[in-house]
Symmetry: C2
Subunit: 576 residues, 2 copies
């Protein structure tokens, strides 16, 4: 039975955690999507009191399953209007598990503006009002909360952007060092949290026990096998720990799919100055940390700690997509400037991908020149200041495109395309077009087969075969997001049947129920069906499963290609 805490922000009441049979056996994305689909009227306004915000740990989060600390955040998205699940690392999912919960469901809306903190501990749950927290940024906010609740708290929070209910607003989770730098970034879920007056959730696990798996011995055995395989695969054993996710910059640039200057070119001349290699060198020279885990139990450690020239902490990572969005896509080749913007985005609480895409669109609209790093930093600061310009930048690429009269706006279902050009890497184009979430690379990461040759190999420039890989990846991802395991385990899981088997065994050991390959696939399909059902009832159709026209009409160098997977094929992605 899924144990759920319901918080009603209209009446400002906190329920008693209840096992709810309707959501039996679900966790993570499967749980958030089931709840949102069942309880949110699909045509409601995402910022109205009829939306709900769900915070759910994965099915195996908090156990000894490696890399299982993902927290899923779900709601109807104010950015896309679709159902939305966005997940993050950090320590919150494990803390939620330790407190015996599968999910917190936040309903309603207070009559007057105010800032509330939901505090959970083994002794119970309460809602605390503290209006002095309103409009605080994430870093000073968690400082204040750590002072009040102790340094060991896990904190889920929104920055100023969430208070302002901006469509790019993220939900932040603290990392093991208490830094609010792991974000459920996409889709503006921070605005939903802000619309409910919920500024933060503080999880105090002192005295709480780790949840016990059904079969501890089986779990230990399978986890051991799994870790060994993670430590063997070149991506999880070497590439990610050494260079972080930004190892991709050079690789994606080399295949001509690194979107530059608002998706007008596929290669960036400044790539070597912002690549994973350059980043590692800079971090090592300055004595930052070139390897870091975003939550206990992660054996990959793709994160890092970026410091300034004096060795002072600036921000985590930044990740590949962030460096692309605020870098190449804006024509910016200055790592320090990008790290500064990443820190600002985390502090203000906005999605780095959407923000970079938005700045690039504003650049195309003539607001700044491509490559103007100082101007870009100023723009991000405007979001925090809540100025009208900041509200435009904080509301996403589509809105900025409209405000600045730009015709080339790279969005699907109103969400900006991430760091891979679909004209050069066509499998990801299928995912962008058809994902239930709007353009989202994580939803079906075809870079595996199109570029990295993990789990097979499909020519990225040919339309053929892309729908099939996207379909299979979307199904698998939906299950992995439900388990609460970091998506990066997919590299060995896709390549090695033993790794897949170990993951199934671990899940079964935790739940005490059979969990075979069929269960795995059926769960993913079921999650996607649930999400498609919501979107259909919200008014979305196949016609929304399309890239913007310019990807079909404007040719991309160096390959001189357009996106040419036929619409009719796109419409078969969910034929299962």
């Amino acid at each position: 039975m899924a144990k759920i805490l319901r918080v009603n922000m209209t009446n400002l009441t906190v329920g008693t955690p209840q096992a709810e049979g309707n959501y039996d056996g679900l966790g993570g994305r499967a749980l958030t999507s089931a709840l949102v689909n069942a309880e949110v009227p699909p045509t409601c306004h995402a910022l109205s009191n009829r939306n709900v915000l769900v915070l759910a740990r994965g099915m195996v989060s908090g156990t000894a399953v490696p890399c299982s600390g993902r927290l899923s955040v779900g709601a109807k998205s104010p950015l896309t209007g679709t159902i939305k699940e966005s997940n993050a690392g950090g320590t919150a999912a494990q803390a939620l598990a330790a407190l015996g919960l599968d999910a917190v469901v936040v309903e309603g809306q207070p009559k007057e503006n105010g800032a509330y903190v939901l505090v959970g501990s083994p002794s119970g749950w309460e809602l605390v009002r503290d209006d002095s927290l309103r409009n605080k940024s994430n870093y000073p906010l968690v400082d204040k909360l750590f002072k009040r609740f102790g340094k060991k708290a896990s904190i889920i929070s929104i920055g100023k952007a969430g208070d302002m209910r901006l469509s790019s607003a993220s939900v932040a989770c603290t990392d093991p060092e208490g830094r609010p730098n792991r974000h459920a970034g996409r889709g503006g879920l921070g605005a939903v949290m802000g619309s409910k007056g919920l500024k933060a959730v503080v999880l105090l696990t002192r005295g709480a026990a780790r949840p016990q798996p059904a079969d501890p011995q089986k779990l230990a055995d399978a986890a051991k096998r799994f870790v060994a395989l993670l430590k063997e695969h070149p991506v999880t054993a070497t590439a990610l720990p050494t260079y972080g996710t930004n190892v991709l910059a050079g690789i994606v640039n080399a295949v001509g799919g690194y979107p530059t200057n608002n998706f007008s070119k596929g290669q960036f001349v400044g790539v070597d100055r912002i690549s994973g290699e350059a980043q590692r060198e800079t971090i090592l020279k300055r004595h930052g940390r070139a390897k870091h885990a975003c939550h206990p139990g992660c054996t990959i450690a793709c994160s890092r700690v970026y410091v300034d020239s004096k060795g002072k902490y600036v921000t985590k990572g930044p990740e590949y997509e962030t460096i692309w969005a605020l870098g190449a896509n804006c024509g910016i080749d200055d790592l320090d400037a990008i790290a500064r913007m990443d820190r600002l985005c985390d502090d203000i609480g906005i999605d780095t991908i959407e923000t970079g895409a938005t700045i690039a669109v504003a650049m195309e609209g003539g607001l700044l020149k491509f490559g103007d790093a100082k101007g870009a930093i100023k723009l991000v600061r405007e979001v925090g200041a809540g100025s009208p310009l900041g509200r435009i930048i904080g509301s996403g690429a589509k809105l900025a495109g409209q405000a600045f009269g730009v015709a080339r706006v790279p969005v699907v279902k109103s969400q900006a395309l991430p760091a891979y050009d679909p004209r050069a890497i066509k499998g990801i184009g299928v995912t962008y077009a058809t994902s239930t979430m709007g353009a989202d690379h994580t939803a079906g990461y075809s870079i595996c087969q199109n570029v990295l040759k993990v789990g097979g190999s499909i020519d990225p420039l040919e339309p053929k075969g892309q729908v099939e890989i996207s379909r299979n990846l979307q199904i698998a991802t939906a299950t992995i997001d439900s388990l609460g395991i970091c998506l990066f385990v997919a590299f060995p899981v896709l390549d090695k049947p033993e790794a897949f088997q170990a993951m199934l065994d671990m899940t079964s050991a935790v739940t005490g129920k059979p969990f075979g390959a069929d269960t795995f696939t059926e769960m993913g399909k079921s999650v996607l069906r649930t999400e498609r059902d919501f979107n259909r009832r919200a008014g979305f159709t196949n016609m929304d499963d399309r890239l913007p026209d310019f990807f079909r009409t404007e040719r991309l160098l160096p390959h001189d290609t357009v996106f040419d997977v036929p619409d009719a094929e796109l419409d078969t992605v969910f034929n299962f």
Copy 2:
């Protein structure tokens, strides 16, 4: 054969007017919608070079048919994403007719920013580049053009908002006194014109002959009957000439359907200070003109000339919907402030309805207090200044709602609802929801039967019967918009079979072809089918034919009602 001039803004070439068989017998809205549906890829970005802008006179414009000076402007709308036709009075349609054209079709987009003027005269057509006109407002713009081309020119133009490609940008037409105050306001068609670099169209009719009807005697006879009936009907003979369109303020307020403070109430305490009666009194006291025709041949003369306390011209009208939008809907009861904003909107070139709705949404978002007239004027000025705040206000209510985190946003298909609350006047709610244009009162003006008891009587508070009146009105309107006759003739036409017959006879006399009641109805149906076809191919479905949820969940005083026409009934509007 429809005589069409094609202007290609990519190559900067002007074709020779050609009779195009494809569009035979069409004019006004029937012509713009047929052209847009046939030639614009429905999924293209409205500001891209693949959109076209069509300027078409009505089928009978320029002849002796009374009130027939409407100019239709058509394109894919940057505001709604639907097909769009917006029409205006002024002298342009008659001038176009005198120059022997049915329509001008503007295609493509120049490679670099520039300001072009299309100049037409009996000796031919040319495109003149004059970058000094760029970013000029409409009033100084036409002054400059009159100096160059003579005072008798008819001018179609865009203000600053069109240059900025803002989604509320209008297309202005000059009135008989050469004032750019008759606007095709809705749907941002000025942004399409701006995206093509076309700043103005100057029509010089000296030496041109009025188009000859096929049967002058039949036309003279039918027109005489028609004028007599216009001069008999209480609305066109008395109400409109005496008080202008704003005669409605008191009437609509009395039935509780006058949206106040962003559609939160149905009656406005300040109505008596901004009503048609108050407006007339003010104008008469200041020696303005309480009766004015927006184009030669109009026998109703619902327009007026608003002057300041020193008797100096401020603006036309303003019209009922403008006074509502910038008045009651913003809680503003100051006629002079509203007139000032109307003038600013005309000068900058933005839709007054969308602008008022947007300011009200911004007020709800906390930017200003309801009733703050000075603040509202400042906001309109910001649009002209092109500041980030101005870009938000000039991009419409939906965008402003998103930027300011507002959940109550009164739009359908991204276009703001006009001056009648659909919870108190339910027939207009059906039109708002289902119109091919987004929320638009003119598309099927149920106020006739719901409030004015013209053409029948249907209880405005009952859901029953609303779909039928909206359907019939939408069909009739589509034909009237195609004829190029002012919609206000509908009052006698709906009430008196003889008036309807006179209109049919006039049309037949002009075209030389039979034009009976069946032809009239079939033309309207055909226009709607064409528009629905475009919208369907652009991705719109029945789910887009809905009012925002809050009209179904939030009760409106004084009648304590919600909009309750069932969705299933809305979906039958186009069953014909």
